[in-house]
Symmetry: C2
Subunit: 262 residues, 2 copies
């Protein structure tokens, strides 16, 4: 039995999220079905970050124990073959130690949130961004973001159904970048933390948007944070703009140098 | 009666191309149907560049004569409303002179072609790029592109069904840019000319790809050009990577400064 780590990209639109659910298409189920066609038996794939319905991934990480003599490269090719036509791609695959864990070994998650600022309806980037009709004030948003970075009680910025034991988290970075896309000006919000609470990024982005639109002052983000009250949060931003960008480990399992004799 | 110019963005996938066809969804028909809901009567929209099935547009331009008192801004908003859920957006709208012509007044067309270089299947950019599985040699491609720029007989690089009177065209620019996309490394090929022949950009790109893949030498692109023979062309690249990026006029109809007293 070998434990394999996978780096995974997907388009969130057709799925009810990462997690397997009865009668709902999920990324997890699609990958497990593909694996069943390659390795006899049923398989359970463990993920670093369970994404919600509609949320995308550029670099999700998962692991699975498999009884196979296939090389990582052949396994990845077979998975990509059987995953079609799902918009899910295995970007990388590597054997890892038996006690390596996609979720518990992770030391950092990075999310990207894309906001498209324009009046006309999105066509080419539809479903890949959150479209807002007015230009947002990036300087005000950056000011608000500074209040939110650090070790805080993020009760305001987590879903009321969040199952984490504690609302305390350290938000290592929350920065906003202006990007010229093919279909208009975008803001890319980059969030970095060891771990996030449920709907934390979308809650933070929703509040930043209120600041950027001028409806809130930058200081109102601090007031909301300090309220420790879910009802003090701005509107939660839609899943279409959110991407799980990267999951980091002490040693990168996909770095050839960490694979020992392979 | 006022002649209006429109700047239009669309996702090419659902359409059989720009041009209205019986029993086939077309961008032209979708826009004319939207206009019929706003201004009484039937309308014919004239376009700068007829795009083929599956080809996208970032900045297509068209015009139409309309009996309306709506301001350009209101007309655009109404068109975008009635175009839903088609992935077509009116980005700009302006009144123009009665003898202004989207096609015949154009002095330059710019196309963008996106190639995604990676092994894993595309997910987020599926349908928006041409995916090739190997890295292409951009330096070799740039060398080949130099042979193709200029005033030439482009018989090799036009569709056998191209209806233009002459295969002579001046290709003003054909340059290749390396771009780091969210889903991997891309090459963006930028082509610029007063006008293009049918399938010219996709024929040029298909030949450049052969050079980038090492199957052709850069000089083979020159040999193909000088053959003046369609069968000397490399494979035509798929429509998914092609975007009509911009159409230029002596005076930009969408520049407020050119709208006189409006």
């Amino acid at each position: 039995m070998t434990r394999f780590a996978f780096k995974i990209e997907y388009h969130g639109a057709p799925f009810s999220g990462w997690q397997r659910q009865l009668n709902e298409p999920s990324v997890q189920r699609a990958i497990e079905v593909a694996l069943e066609k390659i390795v006899v038996g049923s398989h359970v794939v463990i993920v670093a970050g369970r994404t919600d319905s509609g949320v995308h991934a550029l670099g999700q990480v998962a692991h699975c124990d498999l009884e196979t003599t296939l090389s990582p490269h052949r396994l990845m090719a077979a998975m990509n073959y059987h995953l079609r036509p799902n918009p899910i791609a295995i970007l990388d695959c590597a054997p890892v130690a038996d006690d390596w864990h996609a979720r518990f070994s992770a030391i950092e998650r990075r999310y990207l949130y894309r906001i498209l600022m324009r009046r006309s309806p999105a066509t080419l980037s539809r479903g890949l961004v959150w479209q807002v009709r007015k230009r947002l004030d990036i300087v005000a948003m950056q000011k608000a973001a500074k209040y939110l970075v650090g070790y805080h009680d993020f009760t305001t910025f987590r879903s009321s159904t969040c199952q984490a034991d504690s609302p305390l988290r350290t938000l290592d970075a929350l920065h906003i970048e202006a990007v010229t896309g093919l279909a208009g000006d975008e803001l890319h919000i980059h969030a970095k933390a060891r771990s996030f609470l449920h709907k934390q990024v979308r809650s933070l982005v929703g509040t930043l948007e209120r600041v950027g639109a001028g409806a809130w002052l930058p200081e109102d983000a601090r007031t909301a944070l300090e309220a420790h009250d879910r009802s003090a949060c701005g509107p939660v931003s839609p899943p279409t703009g959110l991407y799980l960008a990267q999951v980091r480990y002490l040693a990168d399992p996909f770095d050839m140098n960490n694979r020992g004799s392979e």
